[in-house]
Symmetry: C2
Subunit: 560 residues, 2 copies
Amino acid sequence: MMMQKLRRSGAFIRFGCKSLITSRPDKNSVSRSVSGFVNHYKSKGKLFELSDGNYYNTELHHPCISRHLGMLLQQYKCFGSSAVSLIQRNPLFSSLDSKDVSYFKEILGEKNVIEDKERLETANTDWMHKYKGSSKLMLLPKNTQEVSQILQYCDSRRLAVVPQGGNTGLVGGSVPVFDEVIINVGLMNKVLAFDEVSGVLVCEAGCILENLATFLDTKGFIMPLDLGAKGSCHIGGNVSTNAGGLRLIRYGSLHGTVLGLEAVTANGNVLDMLGTLRKDNTGYDLKHLFIGSEGSLGIVTKVSILTQPKLSSVNLAFIACKDYLSCQKLLVEAKRNLGEILSAFEFLDNNSMDLVLNHLDGVRNPVSSSENFYILIETTGSDETNDREKLEAFLLKSLEKGLVSDGVIAQDINQASSFWRIREGITEALQRAGAVYKYDLSLPVEEIYNIVNDLRGRLGDLANVMGYGHLGDGNLHLNISATEYNDKLLGLIEPYVYEWTSKHRGSISAEHGLGVMKANEIFYSKSPETVALMASIKKLLDPKGILNPYKVLPHSLFSY
Amino acid sequence: MMMQKLRRSGAFIRFGCKSLITSRPDKNSVSRSVSGFVNHYKSKGKLFELSDGNYYNTELHHPCISRHLGMLLQQYKCFGSSAVSLIQRNPLFSSLDSKDVSYFKEILGEKNVIEDKERLETANTDWMHKYKGSSKLMLLPKNTQEVSQILQYCDSRRLAVVPQGGNTGLVGGSVPVFDEVIINVGLMNKVLAFDEVSGVLVCEAGCILENLATFLDTKGFIMPLDLGAKGSCHIGGNVSTNAGGLRLIRYGSLHGTVLGLEAVTANGNVLDMLGTLRKDNTGYDLKHLFIGSEGSLGIVTKVSILTQPKLSSVNLAFIACKDYLSCQKLLVEAKRNLGEILSAFEFLDNNSMDLVLNHLDGVRNPVSSSENFYILIETTGSDETNDREKLEAFLLKSLEKGLVSDGVIAQDINQASSFWRIREGITEALQRAGAVYKYDLSLPVEEIYNIVNDLRGRLGDLANVMGYGHLGDGNLHLNISATEYNDKLLGLIEPYVYEWTSKHRGSISAEHGLGVMKANEIFYSKSPETVALMASIKKLLDPKGILNPYKVLPHSLFSY
């Protein structure tokens, strides 16, 4: 076994995807025609009461969505039924007219009101080219006041809007479904304050995550989150989608690290919740409503976040394991023995490794022989010698116990980057391999690989099933790769995956959110009473439903 | 300088106050008569719109509360004005009658419907004997279903209720103001599940924090929070008040560590949000509404919380510093150099130390000479030798830099406990010293001691001003000790302290909550728009206002 040592004291920066825009696949290969034909989803079921006194249908738990790349026309099926339904444009929404455009030009200036077809084409399409809207207008506000003016106007006109950050989402949450006005906060990209004593950063929502990381690096701090899309994604989008990523195991979720935010609600009301304190128990902590609600309750305009001191010693090991049980045991041991220095525990299976080796250039398996599972363990600490010795001792002990069959510790930044390239390159490799059905599940750790095996048995030769993800957080990225999209395959996958997850008290969306893709599947993970309360809160904050419509909550709750 | 080493590998348990009930001060020394006389608070000011379309008064920002121990009659003053007003019992609430009691006996059984005067006396009074209600009934539900039945009934009858856990709060949040029915969840005290792989604990709300810690200790885990009241406080109360405590610097707030909860809303609706997953982005994360809302939106009945592996090495240093600037610099250095093993950074000033030495038996100053400030630094890690060496090296370096004037590392558990006894004994010493005005503030770290000095200058010989608290979290416990309560002194303290805090963008309640004590002061820390939204959410979830009335939100928002 190769067990080499990493000797460094300086910066350790993982290669990020500089811009997802530039790495988008060829549009022609995946884009499809758009149809305006729609049919409202209808279902018969029990009624339950919302807090507003109205009654809504509950037995909408299990519609499954038949998705075709680039199709606005989205076909719905109820499992066990041949009923078919489609998303309908809310006829209560106004359509944009020239007066609207003139008004926006007046408040934002000509150049920040985008009608250019090519720019709109990009803004209407998600980066995977799976979801495509037909918005005729993108607005680029420069500050909170402008966001407020835009929303106040749109609310009065009942013009639907979609808030957009870096547009790096995976569930169609950041692009229009129909003709919603796009509000992109990319121009709001200033760092407003940084306190070197507390480590609290205050910035505008449009700051790109990687730019914030670069800024903090000069101050000796790091962001509490890191993810593959860091080169494009905005902090406002991260907060609005409660992004998880690679550092969650160490620094926790954004519900813990975001100390404050400013948000503009549908009617243009500016909510100043931009506290910078670690502790503030004065009333309801309403910022949490805006963390993870995918822009459907308000547009996040500023963020205050607790950053962490950049520690001098980062080590990365790439490990091979024979079976999943060993991976699971290794996690328990790592939490206990590496304890305070553990900063990432990622896994991928052999199918994922093969895919990366086959589709990405210049990638090689760091361990000498092929194995069933691979684990990346990252440690971050303040004592280089001790941390390295601790990681080495841990790996040797795990080898002796038979939990690990091979492993290597990165010798330098380049080698560490090449290890991360394997894990972070899976998404890109999947894109190149053909059609891909993506699921982002939270499950009890001991169940995580059972669903991969079960699905493999179920699909046989029809597709290649891969499992990878943030094992330390119980987060599986389940991906099914096939030569092309087809209904038979989809019928075998859904609702099976959702039912399996629900049965094991998992979440059908660990970190990607629901967007338009899974809005109707929410009942697999949330009780009807809880969803009813969500709908009541949506109605309270956005009575006309203009903010990011058709997303997050089941369409049936907003019948029109 | 004495720099002794702690050599241990086993358990390290801080002495907790076993039961706050047993250590309550003599009632006669602080209890006062109760008056039923009330007078509605009125104020003239600007109007702002709530989401329900109604208009409410905003210029209620700065009433100050003149509090007397044990007085139900609470006297309000507007600063700069002699207007006086009092809390009025909401006349829309029903009064308890014999039919109500019969109904409760029917569903709960005779023995869990408490009418006994002595038990009610205890339940009506907070542990500091500052707040006293006049409830005629305490209910002890055994499960969620019973809580639901109670609330459904109370809502239909419009009987006000106060949820009660360990009754260890400091702002009068857990006792009735008038005749609210007390719902104490103490019988709901079962651990429901513990997953040794993920470290997720699921339990009922009435579990005492220390009992959970003891249970986890047998499994090799610790709770992510720890506080002085652990021997009495309930986890449900901790969650409802978003308790902070000693480990927040390491494991973050309950908004990050509570993974799920079950809550019953005012109408008896049971919200199952009892997820056990670290990541779950399916819809709005509504559990956060119940974390820190002090039982005013629902009663928390079950909690799922992420616990931490118990690490083998815990060290504690007691350090003396000459000035506050040194304390502040030491914190920055500790975050960077102790980094991943830092688990507590507490401070107290010399006045606090003197108070403890004067009023508690068997306590001595661990360092040889008196100094202006004292710091406790706790480290928790997985490597005993390395952690100890790291702490020693850090302290020696700090001594060389002149940040530290003296220090000692605990040699054993007894010595460590004696160090903690000083910090945790301040509250008890204050109680023994006479009258005490307590403030729990969050402030930027560099401002924390300025308010202590300013107030000392302002009060002169009238009182003894002490500052201590969780410096690592920017949380100051500002305490003013006097021989007796008097209006002149209070007039010098309030609203001065609140205004000072607000001016420096601090929080007037870091971790204690608002309760009845500071409900009207919320505007010092939150914007009118945010408070208006809080009120709308309160109205949505509890339209009849029966849950913990007169607390958290300004009384003016609920005019009757």
